[in-house]
């Protein structure tokens, strides 16, 4: 088995807010991230797929195909969007769009598509909010 990782970038805005809390508590816990007009990041999405190389092509999965899956399932929804206001999983579920929750949400968007590739499975999604901050999800174990 070998792991293959592809990166892509997207830019989005967000803010951190828990409706169940007072403004004061939100500001205390989330600091500047609680400012309601939001702020933005250049995110990097890293998607890791594991499998055995196909004996004919030598590929675990075709990287162009993986790029298209990432584009269709994640980037088209997240890139140049306000996560709290425009991305369904954060709007409808009032899920705070932390890097942790973005990693899980991206996983849920990618997994059904990635796992249609014969013999390959999604093993890791890592989301960098800045070059110094990232969250990683390896699926429910």
């Amino acid at each position: 088995m070998i792991e293959l990782t592809r990166r892509a970038t997207f830019s989005a805005s967000h803010f951190y807010w828990n409706d169940a809390w007072s403004q004061e508590k939100n500001e205390q816990v989330f600091g500047k991230c609680a400012r309601r007009n939001g702020h933005g990041h250049n995110y990097t999405l890293e998607v890791t797929v594991a499998g055995d190389p196909d004996p004919v092509t030598g590929f675990v999965v075709d990287l162009k195909w993986l790029r298209d899956v990432m584009e269709r399932e994640v980037l088209s929804a997240y890139d140049h969007r306000h996560l709290n206001l425009e991305v369904p999983e954060f709007v409808e579920k009032t899920l705070v769009p932390t890097t942790e929750n973005i990693a899980i949400s991206a996983w849920k968007r990618l997994e059904p598509a990635v796992n249609t590739a014969k013999g390959a499975r999604l093993t890791r999604v890592r989301v960098y909010e800045t070059p110094e901050i990232f969250a990683e999800f390896r699926g429910e174990s």
Binding site: V29, I104, F134, E136, F137
Partner: protein, 136 residues
């Protein structure tokens, strides 16, 4: 509970000299090369800390970034940044290779986190080499 990993990278600059008291001068030079030069040298280290755990449903976080920063600042950066690693008590009996620095950082952070489990410490000594410790 859903298990997620949160990672954060920190920078520290420190000096060290790789020299083992149990080797002769010649053996030290053979083993460590330039790193054995008597007055030491320095690096800009990058310390990556990975914390695993469940997501707090109220905050959406594994660990609050500010809380992690404070722990790393207090227990790692204040101790090792702009310091000579050879003079730290941890390196009295062991050579301050980046392998040993990685284990040392893991050791001081492991029980200091307010929440979550320390999954790994990864230290980059230069852009081209790094060391990873995931605990015993």
């Amino acid at each position: 509970m859903v298990h997620v990993y949160f990672g954060r990278r920190y920078h520290l600059s420190a000096s060290h000299r790789l020299h083992s008291e149990s080797l002769t001068g010649e053996e030290n030079r053979a083993a460590y090369g330039k790193c054995n030069n008597p007055h030491g040298h320095g690096h800009n280290y990058v310390v990556e800390v990975l914390v695993g755990g469940g997501i707090d449903p109220e905050t959406g976080m594994v660990i609050n970034l500010a809380a992690l920063d404070e722990v790393v600042q207090t227990s790692v950066l204040e101790r090792f940044d702009h310091a000579n690693l050879n003079l730290d008590p941890l390196f009295v009996n062991q050579v301050p290779t980046t392998e040993n620095l990685t284990r040392a950082v893991f050791g001081v952070l492991k029980d200091a986190l307010p929440v979550g489990k320390l999954e790994h410490v990864r230290v980059e000594e230069t852009e081209n080499n790094f060391f990873l410790f995931q605990g015993e």
